[in-house]
């Protein structure tokens, strides 16, 4: 494993982390599956109860560990299962996008989108588009840790344990 960020962008396949709320976007992604809507295999969905559960720390950590893109997705404003959760998400990640841009992370790499449980096609569309954008941008080189991560390291680092 090299400590240097990947420099070649040829045949580059980005890895994208999707934080999906359990009630809308995760269901939307399930619907995309049930409807057999094909999208690039670059995305990995991580289920959270609500998009407001996504701590900006999780996003920074993913970029530190070398992820190429992060999508935070939840119910449409007004449709939150917990009534108000996604309003916090909306405000929080508006700031977060600006902050990440400030440190040099392209706004294409970090997105917040609203995808409901009935929007399988929208899930397909959003992740396909995002994969394409990041393919063009190349591998993420900002915020990345220099050290090789061993399983033991993050075991110890994990907060609040």
């Amino acid at each position: 494993m090299s400590n240097n960020p990947v420099e070649k962008t040829e045949n580059f396949e980005p890895k994208i982390l999707v934080f999906a709320c359990n009630w809308c976007t995760y269901a939307g992604a399930d619907l995309a599956g049930v409807s057999r809507l094909q999208y690039p295999p670059n995305v990995r969905v991580l289920r959270v109860p609500c998009s407001c559960r996504v701590n900006p720390q999780f996003v920074v950590r993913a970029f530190q560990r070398g992820i190429d893109g992060v999508l935070v997705a939840g119910c449409h404003p007004g449709d939150c299962h917990y009534t108000t959760g996604n309003y916090y998400t909306r405000r929080r990640f508006l700031l977060m996008t600006r902050m990440l841009e400030y440190v040099g992370i392209d706004s294409g790499r970090f997105q917040t989108r609203w995808i409901s449980g009935s929007e399988g096609p929208k899930f397909q569309e959003v992740v396909t588009e995002m994969t394409e954008i990041i393919r063009q941008l190349g591998p993420n080189q900002k915020l990345r840790d220099d050290v090789t991560i061993e399983m033991q390291d993050f075991e110890e680092e994990a907060v609040n344990e």
Partner: protein, 668 residues
């Protein structure tokens, strides 16, 4: 020491044909903390579950990961399995390698397998941080609310009430009855709609367990399954219900006039009115928009007042105001029904422009014996009997460009029914029906359709209508007969448009108020298309009737009964198990800032004073505390907390970070 077992499911060929399940199992065998990893054809089957139980024993596993379908599908199945194996059910995680992998990456077997391995590793990393959790308990208010007083709501309420539970029906119009009360006859039996509906209405109104809350709106729903607090706005009727005897004198003397919505505006009604003669409650309300007194008050005058003068009971109360009150319920049934598609988007059909182009529901009122024409089928324009009637089906249905993409399910049958009614009432009248397809799935439906053609001589023309325009007293209907491949032109006296069923115009707002999902069209979303058709994703809220999608009366009644059974099942419990995935606040870390108190949508967090020893002295300070029975586990507080004192059980910071790290580990 974590001892994780990984079980990779082929789901027949659903996963196995794309993902190399054996390879996933093999890769995971070498992953930290994994002591056992296998693949199997059907993990959720009994032999599959036994495989898990035996492995737990044999390999002394204390954590289980199943790589299969969506946790929304089988999380509870496997939790139960793990519990039967003697582990805490929360020492289990699922990796979704079907909906999120094999089904969406067909043909990309290598990439899909790599992704499945990533997802499995994330699940293992998370499960290693899982803690044993215990379900809590919450009490149940043994009373249900049914929103909507149509046939769906009435049936659901009767079924709940007959099982011995208290139930309230909330209806926004002055009377229960809904759309079914407007319909003349029902297919395929040609039963009189009112004759089968009104006895149910009476039964509901006189049932000791049912309370009717009519002319009222749902304002707010708070709480959770078993304990909903519902805010209701009872609109001012301007009539004192306790005094009114329903004699109807006021209605006959009222000089105010308004469009009669119940009769599809085919006639006028007074400003003080009951929607129809069999209304329940059969006590009038004043429509303040068209009442002369209320209109004159806007101009600073105060005229009329005839109804108050003629009322023998002194029941008229012009000063009445909306009343807002909160009621407590354990379960809610949504039965808000449907609305009619607005045809005016089809300018070529001339709806609204030509009085003799009417909708299906208009026709129901025309043919109804208590309707404006006493059941005589006449043209709205000149009150003459039509000699030729053209019906157009799929107006708004199956037309994604102008209308809705779905089939409204009822139009084929009600068009056939209306055609036979025309032929019965006016045997000399010719009836033509333009159709795209004839869809008659239902008991006795296809037989009925065949009778319409064969016995009643109704002519079906396969094709769309391109234009309708007036020519003298008649309408010219231009269309195409796609079976013969030629244009058709019919000189008609009346045209009936079979309009699509659409959600109520405020369905989305209603869904937001009660906190349930709705689809792009505005229909409420059921928990599972096949296995949870009356449940919603919000526990304790159920669906009945056409608010969930287009439905005819038999299906609506069946679904209402199903919803009632679910409600009774819920209300029969004295306590409900609550999800232990709730928030916890570590008092040692909490600074007592109170930010979490403000963001909690369930008022589950409060500040309390604790005493502790510090530097030899006893000091008291404030810390936040979560009431686990109120917390619904959204996690808003965890991100708001500045000192990381708040954490969400089962979705802790450590668990999510472990997943992130496991995913990223393969990159560097």
């Amino acid at each position: 020491m974590e001892r994780v077992g990984v079980f990779v499911c082929h789901c027949g060929s659903n996963i196995g044909s794309v993902v190399d399940c054996a390879k996933v199992a093999e890769e995971l065998r070498n992953y930290p903390n994994v002591v056992h990893s296998v693949d199997y054809k059907y993990m959720c089957s009994e032999p599959g579950q036994n495989l898990i139980k035996e492995a737990v024993k044999e390999h002394n596993l204390n954590r289980v990961v199943v790589c299969s379908c969506s946790p929304r599908m089988h999380e509870n199945t496997f939790r139960a399995c793990v519990a039967q194996a003697g582990l805490n059910p929360y020492m289990f995680e699922m990796a979704n390698i079907r909906e999120h992998c094999s089904w969406v990456h067909a043909g990309h077997n290598e990439e899909a397998t790599a992704k499945a391995i990533d997802l499995a590793k994330m699940a293992v990393a998370k499960v290693c941080k899982n803690k044993e959790l215990k379900k809590g308990h919450s009490p149940v208010t043994k009373r249900a609310l049914v929103v909507g007083g149509g046939i769906a709501g009435i049936q659901a309420a009767l079924d709940i009430a007959n099982n011995g539970y208290q139930v309230d029906i909330l209806e926004r119009t002055p009377s229960i009855g809904g759309k079914m009360a407007q319909i003349d006859k029902t297919f395929p039996t040609i039963d009189c709609s009112a004759c089968i509906l009104t006895p149910r209405m009476v039964e509901a109104s006189s049932h000791p367990n049912i309370k009717l809350i009519t002319f009222a709106e749902l304002e707010k729903v708070e709480g959770y399954v078993g304990n909903f607090d519902v805010t209701i706005r009872s609109k001012a009727r301007s009539v004192d219900m306790s005094k009114c005897t329903g004699c109807g004198t006021c209605m006959t003397k009222c000089p105010g006039k308004a469009d009669d919505e119940f009769n599809m505006n085919l006639q006028k009604r007074p400003a003080i009115y009951t929607p129809f003669p069999q209304a329940i409650p059969n006590k009038p309300v004043i429509d303040r928009e068209s009442c002369l007194k209320f209109k004159s008050r806007k101009d600073g005058k105060d005229v009329c007042g005839i109804c108050a003068k003629v009322c023998p009971a002194g029941a008229i109360d012009y000063e009445q105001e909306d009343e807002i009150f909160v009621e407590h319920y354990g379960a809610i049934v949504m039965a808000t029904g449907y609305d009619q598609f607005d045809h005016s988007v089809y300018g070529e059909y001339g709806y609204g422009k030509y009085p003799d182009v009417i909708s299906g529901l208009h026709f129901e009122r025309l043919v109804n014996a208590s309707g404006p024409t006493m059941g005589h089928i006449v043209r709205p324009s000149d009150h003459k009997e039509p000699k030729t009637v053209v019906m157009v089906k799929c107006v708004g249905s199956r037309d994604p460009e102008h209308g809705k993409s779905y089939c409204s399910r009822t139009c084929c049958m009600y068009s056939a029914k209306q055609a036979t009614l025309i032929r019965d009432h006016c045997p000399d009248t010719k009836v033509y029906i333009f159709y795209m397809d004839v869809r008659t799935p239902g008991k006795g439906y296809d037989e009925f359709y065949n009778r319409t053609r064969e016995e009643y001589g109704v002519e079906y023309i396969r094709g769309r209508v391109s234009k309708i325009y007036q020519d003298g007293e008649q309408l010219i209907v231009k269309g195409e007969d796609s079976l013969l491949g030629r244009p058709v032109e019919i000189l008609a006296d009346m045209v009936i448009l079979a309009d699509a069923m659409i959600p109520q115009n405020d369905a989305a707002k209603m869904a937001q108020i009660v906190g349930i999902g709705y689809d792009n069209d505005g229909w409420f979303t059921e928990a599972h298309a096949k296995l949870g058709p009356v449940e919603t994703h919000t526990a304790g809220i159920f669906l009945a009737g056409a608010c969930q999608g287009p439905k005819d009366i038999p299906d609506t009644v069946a679904q209402a009964g199903a919803a009632a059974v679910k409600v009774c099942g819920l209300l029969s419990k004295d306590q409900l198990e609550t999800d232990p995935c709730t928030s916890e606040i570590d008092p040692a870390l909490c600074a007592g800032c109170g930010h979490c108190v403000g963001v909690c949508p369930y008022k589950a967090i409060s500040l309390e004073t604790i005493e502790e020893r510090k530097a030899g002295k006893t000091i008291s300070r404030q810390v936040a505390k979560v009431n686990a029975s109120l917390c619904q586990g959204c996690g808003a507080c965890t991100v708001t907390c500045r000192s990381s004192a708040a954490n969400l059980n089962h979705f802790t910071n450590a668990q999510i970070l472990a997943e992130v790290d496991a995913l990223c580990q393969t990159i560097l």
